[in-house]
Amino acid sequence: MISVEIPTILRTYTGGERAVTAEGDTLGAVIENLETAYPGIGDRLVEAGALRRFVNVYLNDEDVRFLDGLAAEVSDGDTVTILPAVAGGAPAAAVG
């Protein structure tokens, strides 16, 4: 069983739950499992077969981008943490 920590903005999919459980032996499988239980959440995390650029996903205390991304192997008892990036940018020209 994998614990998954859900950020505020995705709790609309989990009925307000901030921590849920899932199954899977890779991160990709865990996300598919989440999608089954909480339809729509998968699309917030994955686009065109890869993790979305501005969503950070951690396996225990490591950013999965430094592991194997969606192929990262997940073990029973692991925790997956999801945190949307805190980011932004000014417009290229002053048009607002």
Partner: protein, 142 residues
């Protein structure tokens, strides 16, 4: 409305000036559900850019674990614009993902790293909708 102490405003502006011409960014934490900003947490802009900011992903994880351990919320999420007005850009809006936060924007376009006029404005950004709010600055009573 954002209620914030002068001291915290000064800290944000000083950070923006210090990092100019790169965008500065950070958080002001406060007790969970209080909507009261109390603890200034400047962050490193991992993008180190005059037109983009991003918290480093591991800094972000450490920050959120710390907030959880302290029973705090990210009450204010701030960043600076260095050549444009203190108004959320399209990317600011599309990446805003804390619906309960006050998004503070500072612009250092007038005076850069020096003392002098600056813009300090606060917004709510929820589901892609930006609403400017009043900023009420008080002496630090917290």
């Amino acid at each position: 409305m954002l209620e914030i102490s002068q001291e915290l405003v000064d800290s944000i502006v000083a950070h923006a000036r210090q990092d100019h011409p790169d965008e500065a960014c950070g958080v002001i934490a406060g007790p969970a559900n209080s909507d009261r900003p109390t603890r200034f947490i400047p962050m490193t802009n991992a993008a180190r850019s005059p037109t983009f900011y991003e918290f480093d992903s591991m800094d972000l994880l450490r920050l959120y674990r710390e907030l959880a351990a302290n029973d705090e919320d990210p009450v204010v999420i701030y960043h600076s614009h260095t050549a444009t007005p203190a108004y959320p850009s399209r990317t600011d809006i599309s990446y805003a993902s804390e619906p309960n936060a006050h998004y503070v924007l500072v612009s250092t376009r007038e005076t850069g790293t020096e003392d002098g006029p600056y813009e300090f404005r606060s917004y709510r950004i929820v589901d892609g909708v930006v609403t400017e709010e009043e900023v009420r600055i008080g002496s630090d009573a917290s």
